[in-house]
Symmetry: C2
Subunit: 206 residues, 2 copies
Amino acid sequence: MDMKIILASGSPRRRELLNQIGLDYEVMVSEAAEVTQATEPAEICRELACLKARDVAATLAREASEKTGEDGARKGHTLVIGSDTIVAADGRILGKPADREDARRMLRLISGREHQVYTGVAAVEMDGGEIVSETSFTDATDVYVSQLTEADIGWYLSTGEPFDKAGAYGIQGYFARFVEKIDGDYNTVVGLPVGRLWRDIIRHYK
Amino acid sequence: MDMKIILASGSPRRRELLNQIGLDYEVMVSEAAEVTQATEPAEICRELACLKARDVAATLAREASEKTGEDGARKGHTLVIGSDTIVAADGRILGKPADREDARRMLRLISGREHQVYTGVAAVEMDGGEIVSETSFTDATDVYVSQLTEADIGWYLSTGEPFDKAGAYGIQGYFARFVEKIDGDYNTVVGLPVGRLWRDIIRHYK
């Protein structure tokens, strides 16, 4: 099947992962407000992934209805992929740090122990301008961080890497020197579980 | 301590990992013959890592002795890092594929199950032209590959990625779509366990 893929995320790391596994896609960033009633990390990120994918799908549907009958209407199947990543320790969510002290607090919290990274994925399938199905899941990976000294934390803050990242670290960056091991899909930690995305969703359309 | 790091490997993936964790280093590729009496994968790759690091250290020592008394002699501490990676399934070693059919055989072998990736690391510490200590370890990671169809294998062979890689795959490449999970350090699979290298060795010199 000739399936067009649209990534409903502006994250460069997610784009890189789709490039890495050799998929062609377009990017349309969702403008949806990230609001959910869910309380568990696994459920929150799955719902937010759905919100993002549905928002972009709605935009596509609107575009299609405006162009009904014209040659410009989007033909064929489209798969809109939304994704959201949450870092949690003891079930408490660690978002992007508000400032340097907040980042320091998070790094102290994840030092010398394991925590979880959850990435929710949603795929909305469209045929022309119609939504025909929606699939979603959450994948979770345990990350074991080595004992960080105050000097380690000071150095890591000085790299500037923590400040735009949930949990105040990037496993694909300098922080790799502090990671002992993971149990799960590495790419779930990076921001998109491309193994399960391929296995459970995309391969069925190819 | 002002410690100079020399990577005794020409592998671009190992270089990228040292860059990623923010280390300055030079590259001097070992010319040593990769011969060992060891029979277990974990021991083989540790020994080969030692061979590579010692070979480069011997070159440095020779250079230093030729320059004794001159300003050009290498002053201060140097850490020479050697590394070797082995892929094994059921204790049987999967090297770089000889050809397309050999790659196909390996991919069928790792399909739908776990296998192990071992990376041996050796660090030879030098003071001036003298070797003062040697440390080595092997880190192992389990990799769980999803069930591959003949079409998957045919597609993956067509990317050209398998042919220069032990086990006929690169986890940091297209093959990520076929990886279910790992248990261990991701970078051990890529080719250099930078977490343990930092934790057990380099941090003690910084």
